[in-house]
């Protein structure tokens, strides 16, 4: 008896030591977000949180540095996060009243939830005072910044449509031409598979990557009103015949092994999906324009050697959609916390007005292969020396400016509740574990939520 109790005590002791050791080794995923300015909480001066990932990160750091150099008495402190980590962190922080002064975001449904909770400043007055600044920005970018007729965020950074990238060498290998229609895509799939090249790269674990396929198929098959009805909260809008057709088409592509083996365990944050395209393991990839810089930096001679091809998503035979329509992020958005002190708000407004879309920023975005959301960007294009960059920038500018409709990414446009249900169901749809009808039924359940 005595022995067993002593054993028990010793065991709990060992357990405590082991747990202590384990705790020493434990570091949550959040610590991967590196901090350059220390803990940024409310009341510690003007703070600004944004995303990591080059080349965008370097440009944002440059903007803050220029502001801080010019205004030594009112410094802005920055904290940087990885994309997926940031999405959780910012919501929790704002809810707890610990958010930054300058809130980086995607506009749309997420911004609306901040507005509903009175967490962000109404910038309508700011823009009427700075009318010239407002007239410089692409008008299409303000849609996702506007809630109930008031502007709550400033469109900044670059406009990033989703485009169809392809590897020219992979097409040469099988002697095929880039697809001109959805039918061509389905015809190319077996040819690439026979040549042991995956037709499409996809970072399916991130889920919003799969969503980009639906955004285009919905538009090309049924036109932009199909999603507009969903966005407007019309009952059973997901059961539209065009919606069901689009869901069927994407499942056909999955069943034909259109996507790389193991796509549902690949994350977009690791850039493995881009690496598959650059290395020729996959022939095509539907992805945001923001991936160009990464592929250029990490893809060896893939971009510089002229092997990267790109095009807008092709039409679907018999579809009602306009083939010029694009989807993606019209801009990035900066809001000002309504909980910040008046002094911090003034500093933040000064930063917005002087340092976010200034000439140096526009040059930096163009230099990194992006189209900033200002009209002055077009004038900068002829000065681009690198011929690959020049062609790419012209393509992005044309795609964005000529688009009959520029649909904001669904997961950003919808409320966070509906967006999570959407991403969840999309993952199951691509996993073939639910049918198009089941998808529509469960999504109809969260319409307007």
């Amino acid at each position: 008896m005595t022995t067993s109790r002593r054993t028990f005590l010793r065991l709990t002791g060992a357990g405590a030591v082991a747990a202590g050791l384990a705790a020493c080794g434990t570091s949550g995923p959040q610590s991967s977000g590196s901090s350059t300015g220390g803990g940024a909480a409310a009341g510690t001066g003007t703070t600004y949180w944004f995303l990591t990932g080059q080349p965008q990160q370097g440009i944002r750091e440059g903007q803050v540095k220029r502001f801080n150099d010019a205004n030594p008495s009112t410094q802005i402190k920055t904290t940087q996060f990885q994309n997926d980590a940031y999405k959780q962190k910012i919501k929790t922080a704002i809810g707890a009243g610990q958010g930054p002064t300058l809130i980086w975001g995607w506009g749309g449904g997420g911004l609306k939830s901040y507005v509903d909770a009175n967490q962000v400043e109404d910038l309508t007055g700011f823009f009427s005072q700075n009318a010239e600044l407002k007239s410089q920005i692409f008008p299409s970018a303000f849609g996702a910044a506007t809630v109930n007729g008031k502007i709550y965020a400033m469109p900044v950074e670059s406009t990033t449509p989703i485009v169809l990238f392809y590897n020219k060498q992979a097409f040469e290998k099988i002697g095929a031409e880039p697809p001109q229609s959805w039918g061509d895509i389905m015809d190319l799939v077996p040819k690439f598979n026979d040549a042991k090249i995956a037709p499409f790269s996809l970072g399916g674990q991130s889920r919003w990557t799969n969503m980009m396929w639906l955004e285009f198929l919905y538009d090309r098959i049924g036109g932009s009103e199909v999603f507009q009805n969903i966005f407007d909260g019309k009952p059973n809008a997901w059961s539209d015949p065009s919606s069901l057709k689009a869901l069927e088409e994407v499942q056909k592509l999955v069943k034909a092994n259109g996507f790389i083996k193991g796509f549902s365990s690949i994350t977009a944050d690791s850039n493995a999906d881009q690496a598959l395209l650059c290395t020729g393991k996959a022939a095509m990839m539907l992805h945001g324009a923001w991936t160009y810089g990464g592929m250029k930096a990490d893809g060896k001679d893939f971009v510089t050697g002229g092997h990267l091809g790109y095009m807008n998503f092709p039409p679907v035979d018999g579809g009602k959609g306009d083939p010029t329509t694009s989807v993606g992020n019209p801009a990035a958005y900066l809001s000002i916390s309504s909980k910040a002190s008046d002094q911090d708000k003034e500093v933040a407004k000064k930063f917005l007005a002087n340092n976010t879309l200034d000439s140096a920023s526009v040059d930096a975005w163009v230099g990194a292969g992006n189209i900033p959301v200002v009209k002055s960007a077009e004038a900068k294009l002829p000065s681009v020396q690198d011929k690959n960059d020049a062609a790419w920038l012209k393509f992005v500018y044309d795609t964005s400016s000529k688009a009959k409709n520029f649909q904001q990414s669904w997961d950003q446009a919808l409320s966070p509740t509906a967006a999570e249900a959407l991403l969840d169901n999309i993952a199951k749809l691509f996993q073939l574990s639910i049918s198009p009808q089941q998808f529509a039924d469960s999504m109809n359940g969260v319409i307007g939520k």
Partner: protein, 297 residues
């Protein structure tokens, strides 16, 4: 026995004071949030705006959601399968490491290494190794290893159980090692005089003597597996689809991704209840352990 118990009663005053900091800590960080979650489960809150009372609607929506039985099933599947994998292996390893030979002490240090790594680091490493395109299998051209490990329902579940076992077997081996060393050697000497072989000694002396150790280790495994979150979150994010979406992950997704704090709190309450029930059942199994503890107090 009696005199020792009396001595402990005499010391109970200062002992109680010493427990105070731990008790306050437990109240503030354990009990208070528990009630907070219970209250939140009857409200509607998106984590940012105002908190509104919602009555029983969260409970009704969560309990009628087909996702709940699925998440429960996955949770229990992982709990039971990882117990079945971990217990025999840690028991055998523990017995092996209880030997006093030098090389065993050396091996014990090596076996201990996985315990020093954080779950997130382990998950990221395995994710990279198992990548079907850039991982170990593809790099070394080993056909068997180039499976879609994390992309197929059953394989992903198997990988989760394997990684969990890899991470925690060292810890449980350590518990068993300590347990085995407590068994009086005279018992083994007597058994070998009676002609019992090694196998017979293992089943007739080692295993019965380790009864309470097995219960302790099983309680830690079972209750601990309810809270597996970081590893699964990084490794599969609950995927593919919802094949590895355990209850804790379901709670996180509802609360922090879908901004539904009410339903997430309902799941948190369910987790607490299930954890308590399991811990109580396991305590029952080792009924005399409780008796001896009460005797000591």
């Amino acid at each position: 026995m009696g005199t020792r118990a009396a001595g402990q009663v005499g010391r109970s005053g200062p002992v109680a004071w010493m427990a105070l900091p731990a008790l306050v800590f437990f109240l503030v960080f354990g009990v208070v949030p528990l009630f907070g979650v219970l209250v939140l489960s009857f409200t509607q809150w998106d984590g940012i705006g105002a908190i509104n009372p919602a009555g029983l609607s969260n409970w009704r929506s969560v309990l009628s959601d087909p996702g709940l039985p699925h998440a429960l099933w996955v949770t229990f599947e992982i709990m039971i399968l990882s117990w079945l994998v971990q217990t025999p292996l840690s028991l055998l390893l523990g017995v092996f490491l209880a030997g006093r030979q030098r090389y065993r002490a050396f091996l014990a240090v090596l076996y201990f290494v996985p315990l020093l790594l954080s779950s997130a680091a382990i998950a990221i490493t395995y994710k990279a190794l198992l990548d079907p395109n850039f991982g170990l299998g593809a790099g070394l051209n080993i056909g068997f290893l180039t499976q879609d490990w994390l992309g197929k329902d059953n394989l992903a579940l198997g990988v989760v159980i394997f990684v969990v076992s890899w991470q925690f077997i060292p810890f449980h081996s350590l518990i068993y090692q300590g347990g085995v060393r407590q068994i009086p050697t005279t018992m083994y000497e007597a058994a070998s005089i009676d002609g019992a072989g090694r196998l017979r000694q293992f089943f007739s002396i080692t295993v019965p003597q380790l009864k309470y150790t097995i219960i302790t280790s099983s309680t830690l495994m079972v209750v601990g597996s309810l809270t597996f979150f970081d590893l699964i979150f990084v490794l599969t994010a609950g995927g593919p689809g919802d094949a590895t979406r355990v209850l804790a992950l379901d709670m996180y997704k509802r609360g922090f991704q879908a901004n539904l704090m009410g339903p997430a709190s309902v799941i948190a309450v369910l987790l607490v209840l299930i954890g308590l029930a399991l811990a109580l059942i396991l305590r029952r199994l080792g009924g005399s352990t409780t008796a001896s503890q009460q005797e000591g107090a």
